[in-house]
């Protein structure tokens, strides 16, 4: 059981480039999330999805886009990368949030924009 898988693990981007962080989960979870964690800081929610075809903005959505065409996949798109987007990105998922089910995290994607 792979859990939540993120790719790539490390990436360096130049200012203005675009890229997609991939996230897939094999637990049939309906809820999926993207967080960013800046150095020495906590987690900030970028976008989330409560099911296929449904996405919503979190706390810090600017500069990002997401899609949820399947239950398993929740890619995060960075358009026109900026140095402020240098961070560690975590994808996460859980099942039936209203039951308080714990959230499972991917291993993180380290992104540097230079």
């Amino acid at each position: 059981n792979a859990g939540v898988t993120q790719t790539p693990k490390f990436r360096i981007l130049k200012i203005g480039q675009s890229m997609t962080l991939q996230c897939t989960q094999d637990m049939n979870h309906n809820y999926m999330y993207w967080y960013r964690q800046d150095p020495g800081m906590g987690l900030k929610l970028i976008y989330y999805s409560v099911g296929a075809g449904i996405t919503d903005k979190g706390e810090v959505p600017n500069g990002y886009n997401v899609s949820r065409s399947t239950t398993e996949d929740f890619p995060l798109r960075l358009e026109l990368a900026a140095p402020s987007q240098t961070s560690v990105y975590f994808c996460a998922s859980n099942w039936h949030q209203n039951l308080g089910n714990t959230i499972y995290f991917g291993e993180g994607s380290w992104l540097t924009v230079v």
């Binding site: 906590g42 929610l45 560690v88 949030q97 993180g108």
Partner: protein, 113 residues
């Protein structure tokens, strides 16, 4: 909006000793969930312990236990017999029905040999 506060940015403990990490939260709800997550240097997020607000009994997981004070909106984590592998960032998190997880800013725990 719900908020989670961790007032101790850094803590240290001697190996084999006990340490308590503090967490307070703000909510008007009566049913919710609270979590402690550990993030070692590898940056992986690991669930340590979970508490359901309607349960009076404090959750325990081996050397980890919580002191849940619902009226005071306090949810502290006690680590007994601290080990070097316990060194990490610890995040307190809150979850309510229909809401997203709210994470605190974290407490960095150092374990001294």
């Amino acid at each position: 909006a719900q908020t989670v506060t961790q007032s101790q940015p850094e803590m240290s403990v001697q190996e084999a000793e006990t340490v308590t990490l503090s967490c307070t939260y703000d909510t008007s709800e009566s049913d919710y969930y609270l979590f402690w997550y550990k993030q070692p240097p590898s940056r992986q997020m690991i669930l340590v312990i979970r508490q359901e607000a309607y349960k009076q009994q404090n959750a325990t997981e081996n050397r980890f236990s919580v002191n849940f004070q619902k009226a005071a909106k306090s949810f502290s984590l006690k680590i007994s017999d601290s080990q070097l592998g316990d060194a990490a960032m610890y995040f307190c998190a809150y979850l309510n029905y229909g809401q997203n997880f709210v994470f605190g800013p974290g407490t960095r725990l150092s374990v001294l040999p």
